[in-house]
């Protein structure tokens, strides 16, 4: 276990650094931050001064080198927009995102697994067909559109929830549900099909023949096996929610998390802040991946993390 973790962590560091390099290059391709920061009537001289202040006049490779050396020490530079350390802004905005992503993810996985299991019990029955249809809708409807429709319907029409912003739990409901919907869909579809496979597997049929109860058959024999496929998808979903879904949903609901911050930073060409957001998200993504792999080994005894080489 220890050796495995060490190996995975060193790989993770490499992945994060590669991501940083890619983001560094891309942020420098999308536009000139100095042009956005300066007023329209600024002169070439003003421009040169600001560039020198920000260190943008140095050769790009030197910038990259400094940037990575600083990043390793958790110094990601000052936000161009807010003129304070970017990492502080990201860490301030991180808790709301974690609340939103965890709420949406837990809701999505729980509902998805329940729907998947229930619909697998009678494949082709009306419950199953309804569940598959809902699952496909959840997967295919775009989140920004669902988000807007929910605001129109539940906030403006029925007045049940606030339209946007943050505060009490009532602010969380709509964004969490919108974030959860595609997760519910995909988890339900995957759980359903792997449950159907498991229920038709020889070992499940034989367990029935040996007198194992129906409840144990479904919840232990079949679901534990099906859980391995579900876990794979759940890992992707968590990463997707964090790195993609949160940006869309937070922007629609003005939820003050890192996704919303990332959008604001991009609009303002605040490349330092964009890099900081990506840095933190990348670290979380590789961590989630490691956790998923360790969970595999816990679910499936055939998976050995420390294979002696």
């Amino acid at each position: 276990m220890g050796r495995y973790l060490l190996k995975r962590l060193s790989q993770a560091v490499l992945v994060v650094i590669s991501v940083m390099v890619v983001v560094f290059v891309v942020t420098r391709l999308i536009g000139d931050p100095v042009a956005v920061m300066l007023p329209l009537e600024a002169t070439e001289e003003n421009r040169a001064i600001l560039e020198a202040q920000l260190g943008l006049d140095r050769p790009i490779l030197v910038q990259l080198g400094h940037y990575i050396v600083d990043a390793v020490q958790l110094d990601l530079g000052d936000s161009l927009w807010q003129r304070r350390p970017a990492i502080d802004i990201v860490l301030e905005r991180l808790p709301p995102t974690i609340v939103l992503v965890v709420a949406g993810f837990v809701l999505g996985v729980l509902l998805g697994v329940v729907i998947g299991v229930v619909s697998s019990l009678r494949p082709g029955g009306w419950v199953d067909r309804a569940a598959v249809t809902l699952g496909l809708l959840g997967v295919s409807l775009p989140q920004f559109w669902i988000g807007l429709m929910f605001i129109v319907f539940f906030s403006v029409g029925l007045g049940w929830f606030p339209t946007s912003g943050s505060g009490g739990i009532e602010f969380l409901v709509l964004p969490a549900v919108v974030l959860a919907l595609p997760i519910v869909g995909r988890i339900a579809l995957v759980t359903r099909s792997s449950m159907i496979d498991e229920m038709n597997a020889q070992h499940v049929k034989d367990a029935v023949a040996r007198g194992v109860s129906r409840t144990r058959i479904v919840l232990v024999h079949a679901l534990k096996g099906a859980g391995i496929a579900t876990l794979t998808i759940a890992g992707w979903e968590l990463i997707g929610a964090l790195a993609g879904g949160a940006v869309v949903v937070e922007t629609v609901y003005a939820w003050p998390g890192i996704g919303f911050t990332a959008m604001q930073a991009i609009e303002r060409h605040d490349i330092i802040l964009v890099q900081a957001v990506v840095f933190v998200v990348a670290i979380m993504v590789v961590t989630i991946n490691i956790i998923v792999d360790i969970t595999y080994a816990m679910l499936d005894p055939r998976v050995k993390l420390d294979r002696a080489r």
């Binding site: 034989d206 023949a209 040996r210 007198g211 194992v212 024999h221 534990k224 096996g225 005894p301």
Partner: protein, 337 residues
């Protein structure tokens, strides 16, 4: 007819499966019984309906298969009653199936798979169940049961896995074991060990056995009574000795003739000519007639499985007597078919 109550009684069982181009008549008018302590074999080639019979004897013919006629009785009560069948499976009837690796959950310890049924059916506490599971493992010849209980199926070799499957099947002290091709997935030496184990457990525990196989070598030592299945019908039944040494039905004789023998040098393996009938069509007359060297016009009407002397029965218009035991070399008579 004896008034004695049979343990398992299958009476005029008819099972069909829907298929493209009609309905497959998988089991046609099959009747047999298994009594206390008795061991009965069902022999047939693939597709003859033997596994369907095994499922029916567990009350587990599931869709799309359907029982359309007859009865399966356990101690005189119908296993078509789902609630009764659920009570019976485990503490009364259990199974050992073909591939031991596929037969156990790969992600549950064998201890869990043994104790879960005990806790349900024997009213045992978790601790007592573990003790009993250890005893059972020892009984089926697995050393160091305490450690083994915490292991997973993939940590056992094939033969050991089948021993574990047998131990799981015996968890609730059943009266009858249904063994559906229990040795087919094993190598030959392991086969013999597993068959010996099943036989000795039968003696020790007074188990009844319903052994289902395509392999005459397997039933030879393990079964008292034999039913030969062809195209969903029992064509001959009797004691194992009788059937082996004096087969009456030409199919039984042909099956015996196609078993490779070590004491006879043969260039080619003997096979039965032709194919079993397509069970989607109604089979008129004797289903073996198209492949039978003895078939005559009379075989166009169905022979019935009449009981003759000594509990023997044979569904054939032209039963062989003891002098004509072997069919090989008599292909010349096929022209009359």
């Amino acid at each position: 007819m004896s008034r004695r109550e049979h343990l398992l009684e299958v009476r005029n069982l008819e099972v069909v499966y829907p298929a493209r181009g009609g309905t497959v008549q998988a089991v046609r008018d099959v009747s047999f019984t298994v009594d206390e302590g008795e061991s009965t074999g069902i022999v047939g080639e693939s597709g003859s309906g033997k596994s369907t019979i095994a499922r029916a004897a567990l009350g587990l013919v599931e869709l799309p298969g359907r029982i359309v006629g007859g009865e399966v009785l356990w101690r005189g009560r119908s296993l078509r009653n789902k609630k009764y069948a659920r009570q019976v499976r485990g503490p009364e009837i259990s199974v050992v199936s073909q591939d031991p690796m596929a037969s156990m959950s790969p992600i549950l310890t064998i201890g869990t798979q043994m104790t879960e049924v005990m806790v349900r059916h024997l009213d045992l506490g978790k601790k007592e169940a573990v003790v009993r599971a250890g005893d059972l493992l020892e009984k089926v010849g697995i050393p160091d049961p305490g450690r083994r209980l915490g292991q997973y199926p993939f940590e056992f070799s094939g033969g050991m896995q089948q021993r574990v499957v047998i131990a799981i099947a015996l968890s609730c002290d059943p009266k009858m074991l249904i063994a559906d091709e229990p040795t087919t997935a094993l190598d030959v030496t392991t086969q013999a060990q597993i068959l010996d184990l099943i036989s000795s457990l039968r003696r020790d525990l007074g188990l009844s056995l319903l052994l289902i196989t395509h392999d005459l070598g397997v039933v030879a030592g393990a079964c008292d009574l034999l039913n030969v299945l062809y195209a969903g019908e029992i064509v001959e039944s009797g004691t194992a000795d009788e059937l082996f040494y004096r087969p009456h039905h030409p199919y039984t004789a042909a099956l015996l003739g196609s078993t490779p023998r070590l004491d006879v040098k043969a260039e080619r393996l003997t096979a039965i000519e032709g194919q079993p009938p397509d069970l989607r069509q109604v089979v008129a007359g004797c289903s073996f007639a198209p492949r039978c060297p003895y078939a005559t016009g009379r075989c166009e009407s169905s022979p019935t499985l009449g009981t003759s002397s000594a509990g023997r029965a044979c569904a054939c218009w032209h039963p062989l007597d003891s002098h004509q035991g072997n069919l090989t070399g008599s292909e010349g008579r096929l022209g009359h078919a």
